[in-house]
Amino acid sequence: MSDFKYGDETISSREIMIALPAVTIGVGILSLPREIALLTVGADGWIALLVAGIMITVITWMTSKLAASYPGETFLSYSSKLVTKPVSILFSLILVMQSLLLSAYVIRVIAEIAKAYLFDRTPLEVISLTFLLVVVYAVSGSRAGLFRLNMLFFPIIVLITFILSLFSFGWFEMDNLFPIFETGVRDQIKATEISGLAFVGFNILFFYITLVKDTKKVPKASVHGMLMVIGLYLLIFFVNLGVFGNAVTGNLVYPLIELAKEIEIPGGFFERFDSFFFVIWIMAIFNTTAMSVDVSIYALQPFTKLKKQTLLFCMAPLIYIIGMVPEGSIEVAKLGTFIGYFGIISSSGITLILFTISKIRRGRKKEHAAK
């Protein structure tokens, strides 16, 4: 059925545009306002957040430009053209590891938060396991289906964020945002670094752009996707700081969820909006996990020659075990920071290396052609 291609395994640039924020927005932003607030004075952290976001957006643009300039080629094939086969294998294994660690971390964090906000008696392991099983169910379906799930869930996430911000207005105090521009440069840089960690996830671009038909629109689409993330993060940050002020935000474990606890939804249907908010946010976290697991499966497939499902059933226990290793929330947080640094440094590094080499190659080719 040639005319119903949109039902097949290809994706459009619009789906990439939604997939990026869907992957990036997950557990990171739940605690990000605290981490920024600890380092900065007043609401100064927005500068750090914006700078980090723009830097990541530029790198995202490079990544998608790079992948889009080799339409229809897999990461392995175009990167081995640029940096020999062994190096490209190393690169893709690093990217796979990043996704695997990210998904392991996320299934652990979701259990930690669920324990804090939803139930106290249900064991961590059960919460993580059920979540992972749903992720496995999603990944074992079609890849295009995952992108459709992003499209279905992302608007809900945006909507719930807007609702939260809207109802926070009653608690918003301008004074909480002051003083401005008091933070030292050193702290700002540190805050920028921390903010960058919340943008982990754009490594999916290396692999998924292969599936896109209209590659020319992809760089623009991915920039738009990243801008959505920055916009949403800034909104959340300001609302958080405006409602709680710097000192309180710095002491809350998950300021975003606490925000939902603080506000009151008119009508009195919910005594506590935080549980409800977190339940909706699970969809965002689900998107992050499902995409990360899928991208690692997708990237690993060429090495193993296994069927997607088989590989998935091999990887799932591994992810689960990694997720269960850290003991206590401090170790989990450490794992999160590690994954953040590892993810941002490795994906940015790989992008920069490949992008530079491809630019030089292209330049040389042009010179040759000119001669």
Binding site: G7, A114, I127, V134, Y137, G145, E271, I282
Partner: protein, 513 residues
């Protein structure tokens, strides 16, 4: 399932094996009549009239009495045969005679010539009458079908406040007529085929050539040609044979009794399947959004149509989530309920010995029992059972302390909400899924509910109907189609056919003219 699609249809009549008669028509009239009687077992309703066409040319007319129009056979067929006997029978050979008769008997309607006993028998059994002439191996088949049918009635399963009152009946010809009366386009196509090894029922694929995507028709035809079963009693058989996934709780085809719904569907670029003997037409492809659309949305003004749709979406959510939410809130997240309400719920649940899940399950099952009983009983008693039974059981259960009054509200609201969904088969799926949500809520509270919700979404994005993803036009998103989704745009603005069906002709109107 996939393998069945490629299985070839068996063409040979298996009943013919082992009995001593030829499957060809011979020249001997008596032998032919004998063969016919042997073939169908000489039933009582087989009528055979022997005639003399003059000059000792013998002939016979055979028909099944209940399926044929006796008046036409007597007045037109037999009288014509006898009137012409002087003119023709003398000179010609029997072969030429039968050709001449074919031209003379035009007043009957359709006239066909055949020499195959198989075809002759099937046609005879579908109401045609047969004319044999001694000395020729050809027979004539006359279109004299007529049988008792139900008259056109208001569709019972889909009643509207505003809209045409006609519904399909069991007669295929009438149903085709009903569609034709809505669309007078010469491109309206009715592709006829036969279905069922033994039933040989007529099946019609209806679409508008030039609007529908040809691939869609090809796909439907490919799936239909794979059907191999004894008989299709109802269009539901066809639906279940050609659907994409038999494991899904969701129907992948729409069924309707309303000709106007079929007409608007084929004008959008969909394909409809009609089966003789079934008042339910199938429409494919459908998406999840179709579950919330009713013809009435378009008949009332757009604001009303939109409002009704929003109500239906809310209804679907209540149907699926409300009992589960009750369970989750009462047994896990008491803190989420406003304290006043929490106190009153706790007070009413004071004497209830069961956990919330068991309570909800009891009431949920009772509701389903009542509904099923109401559907089975004769209509007049059914209503009594529904209302009185519901009230009595609800009231008595509360005062006996088995369930809490708030549970009765939850169940009643769920029941009412489930009736708002226009597509009955989807409404049943939602009611079924509700139990899944209840289990999840009992085990993992709100967290379980959202996980099941995610799983249903995963299922929907992977499901297809005739190759069209079930989640279209939400995702893959066709933003132009969104003006007829939750919103129902004003009629002059809906001047494009749904893009997700990839119609050949995309515009259906022009606002600027």
């Amino acid at each position: 399932m996939g393998r069945n699609f490629f299985r070839r249809r068996k063409l040979k009549q298996e009943s013919a094996e082992g009995e001593d008669f030829s499957t060809e028509i011979g020249v001997d009239l008596e032998k032919n009549l004998q063969d016919l009687q042997t073939m169908i077992g000489s039933p009582e309703d087989l009528v055979i009239h022997r005639l003399n066409l003059g000059f000792n040319v013998k002939a016979a007319v055979a028909f099944i009495s209940g399926l044929s129009n006796k008046e036409a056979i007597h007045n037109d067929l037999i009288k014509n045969l006898l009137r012409n006997r002087e003119k023709e029978a003398g000179s010609d050979t029997p072969d030429e005679l039968i050709k001449q008769l074919k031209l003379d008997l035009i007043s009957i309607g359709s006239v066909e010539q055949t020499n195959s006993l198989d075809k002759l028998t099937i046609d005879l059994l579908s109401g045609k009458s047969v004319v044999y002439v001694e000395g020729t191996a050809e027979a004539l088949l006359m279109g004299t079908e007529k049988w008792e049918t139900r008259s056109i009635d208001e569709p019972i399963s889909e009643s509207l406040i505003r809209g045409p009152r006609e519904g399909f009946v069991e007669n295929l010809q009438t149903n085709m007529m009903l569609i034709r009366r809505h669309i007078r386009d010469p491109n309206l196509r009715f592709d006829t085929s036969e279905v069922g090894r033994r039933s040989k029922k007529k099946l019609v694929v209806c679409y508008v050539d030039g609007i529908v995507n040809p691939d869609m028709v090809k796909e439907v035809d490919r799936r239909l040609s794979s059907i191999d079963m004894d008989s299709a009693m109802e269009s539901g058989y066809i639906e279940q044979w050609i659907e994409d996934s038999y494991l899904s709780p969701f129907p992948q085809m729409d069924n309707t009794e309303r000709p106007d719904k079929v007409a608007s569907a084929v004008l959008q670029g969909k394909v409809s399947i009609l089966l003789d003997g079934s008042p339910f037409a199938l429409i494919a492809p459908i998406t999840i959004a179709n579950a919330f659309k009713s013809p009435e949305d378009y008949y009332d003004r757009w604001l009303i149509g939109t409002f009704l749709r929003v109500i239906r979406y809310i209804g679907a959510f209540i149907t699926m989530f409300l009992p589960a939410l009750y369970i989750a809130l009462v047994s896990y997240h008491q803190g989420m309920i406003p304290s006043q309400l929490a106190f009153s719920i706790a007070a009413t649940r004071e004497g209830v010995p069961f956990p919330a899940f068991v309570e909800a399950l009891i009431m949920g099952l009772t509701m389903e029992l009542l509904r099923e009983a109401g559907a089975r009983l004769p209509r007049t008693i059914g209503q009594t059972i529904g209302i009185v039974g519901g009230l009595v059981i609800g009231e008595a259960a509360v005062s006996a302390g088995i369930v809490s009054p708030i549970m009765v509200i939850v169940v009643a609201l769920t029941a009412v909400a489930s009736f708002t969904i226009p597509l009955y088969s989807v409404a049943i799926s939602f009611r079924l899924l509700r139990f899944g949500f209840m289990f999840a809520a009992a085990v993992l509270g709100l967290y379980g509910i959202v996980l099941v919700y995610i799983m249903i979404n995963i299922h929907i994005v992977n499901l297809k109907s005739m190759g069209v993803p079930y989640s279209t036009p939400f995702a893959p998103s066709f933003i132009k189609d969104w003006k007829d989704l939750v919103l129902r745009g004003p009629i002059p603005m809906m001047n494009e056919r749904p893009r997700n069906l990839k119609p050949k002709d995309t515009t259906s109107g022009n606002l600027r003219r």
